[in-house]
Amino acid sequence: MIAGVPPSAATMFEALDQLFVSLKHWLVGQLPPAWQSWVSLAISAAAILGVFMTLFALTVLIERKGLGRIQNRYGPNRVGPWGLLQPIADLIKMLTKEDLVPSGADRVVHFVAPVVMVVPVLMAYAVIPIGRNMAAVDFNAGLLFFFAVGACIELAVFMAGWSSRNKYSLLGGMRAIAQMISYELPLILSTLPVVMLAGSLSLVDITDAQAGHSGGWLARWHVFTPWGLAGLLLFTVAATAESNRAPFDLPEGESEIIAGHLVEYSGIKYALFFIGEYLGMFAVSALGITLFLGGWRAPVIWLEWVPSYMWFFLKLGGFVALFIWLRGTLPRLRADHLMNLAWKFLLPLVLLNAVSAALWHYTAPWTFVGAGLARWLLCGSLVGVPYVLLGRRLFAGQHIGPRTYRMAA
């Protein structure tokens, strides 16, 4: 059970951990049996919607504040104390704005696109375990389901770009398709080692595969293995591109194609796209947490008394902070660099990472002195050396640094 605490405290922490699960069971138990499974699902859906929408509102505010501070500005601070009510003001603004549809637009597709953006993303949350016993559905092909519904975002963005009948929208849509399909490959392949070693596509099983402790205290998260660490880094890069976040925000590219597929959207439809984008970012972060960072599990044995959902949202907060930090730091990539990164750099590395994971698995029986170190060096160099070589090779002959301009005299 829980290490290092007296039994009475252990039951209390256990109850706290299972608070929401028990609450749902109790609520459902009050109803006639015929309804129970449906109501149970509805409660889960409502909880997911409520929690992640709140998180969305908070993140938008924190992002604007954080970006401001990174640029030595204050960020929003006018509405309410410290600008805390800014999301509400934004919501009212969005709801009251005029909903414009261009006269040349394909009205039906233009209308459906924002819905196609948000609904699949919300569906993706169904398979993610956000705490002990807290996955809405334990689906045995959960990971596959996640990527399948995640692919709908591409469709939504292209629908928006195509139906608006605007050159910027179309350019944005085309960029989005090119980028997302290219990065889907490294994203999915970077999860391959996890599936290989866990032997399951169910996200609950994958979390359980990271149970236990090595050395008696450190959690056995995948990130504490060489392939897990490399996998997490590669996954994060691909996930950033997949969720259209800076520095991979080419489909929006405000400075070139003035927000791309969003050009012809306003009011609540624009807001839906915005929500979809952020929910997509949370979903893909949640997947990264589940696959590599032990899901809802505590990092060390002494902290297991903290409720599991707290750990999950703490890690999610870390991911979100990282995304904001990256956005405040990196300039947007050029389209050809973007493609090069995906096909020439990430793809070979994720494939090698799978080999590295296999090696790690088959060297597990090694018992001689320093076996752990040897395994780390062997598996680590399988990804690390190609990283250095590929990096050198790709940059060879390229001048990187201040540009020199040659002007006509």
């Binding site: 640029q71 405040g328 990196l330 990283y387």
Partner: protein, 200 residues
């Protein structure tokens, strides 16, 4: 050949800004405008105003309705009617002095040409209004400002003007001469007959 070193360096830089902005207020250059204001520089200007001496804006107005500014104004946004007594003799003061700030481009030419130091640039800029037509057309009394107010806005410039006015009317012309030089030429090209608009 950086292999990601540049990204890390950039992340450190932004992190330093992020943390620094909480500890070092000097980093935050934002002036939170409606609450905090920057003192306007001496040469700031928005739209013209009419300066008057003494207490009463009606009596003290320096403007003599000579209409030089009206003629010189490039977008023609000034409208002046000379005041006359009951016998029809000119009173050397404007009956109407209207200035349309929706048209005025703040070029300050009216100020340069006025031989009487009567029209000067104001610095009030919070002039937004919900009424597009009426509120942007300023009348004589909207434009009138005491000489002390002018001295407060542009101390150096107003100091010179005050010294010149104190030296006497003869000296007032010294400033007017170079500016008034091209005025007749402009007047003839515009083809306006002097005194046209103020006839009843």
């Amino acid at each position: 050949m950086n292999l990601g070193k540049g990204i890390l360096k950039g992340l450190v830089e932004t992190a330093r800004n992020f943390v620094g902005s909480y500890y070092d207020p000097a980093r935050l250059v934002t002036i939170q405008y409606p609450d905090e204001r920057r003192a306007l520089p001496e040469k700031a200007r928005s739209f013209p105003m009419l300066v008057y001496d003494g207490e009463d804006p009606e009596k003290g107005l320096r403007c003599v309705a000579c209409k030089i500014c009206e003629k010189e104004c490039p977008p023609q946004c000034i409208y002046i009617v000379l005041d006359r007594d009951e016998k029809g003799r000119p009173l050397r003061r404007p009956k109407i002095f209207d200035l349309d700030i929706s048209v005025c481009m703040s070029c300050q030419i009216c100020v340069e040409v006025c031989p009487f130091d009567a029209i000067k640039m104001n610095t009030e800029f919070e002039l937004s209004t919900a009424d597009r037509f009426g509120s942007l057309l300023l009348h004589k009394m909207d434009l009138a400002r005491p000489a002390s107010y002018y001295l407060g806005l542009h101390p150096v410039e107003a100091g010179e003007v005050n010294a010149r006015l104190a030296a006497g009317p003869g000296h007032a012309e010294t400033k007017a001469k170079p500016a008034a030089g091209p005025a007749p030429a402009a007047g003839t090209t515009s083809g306006a007959k002097p005194g046209d608009s103020d006839r009843p």
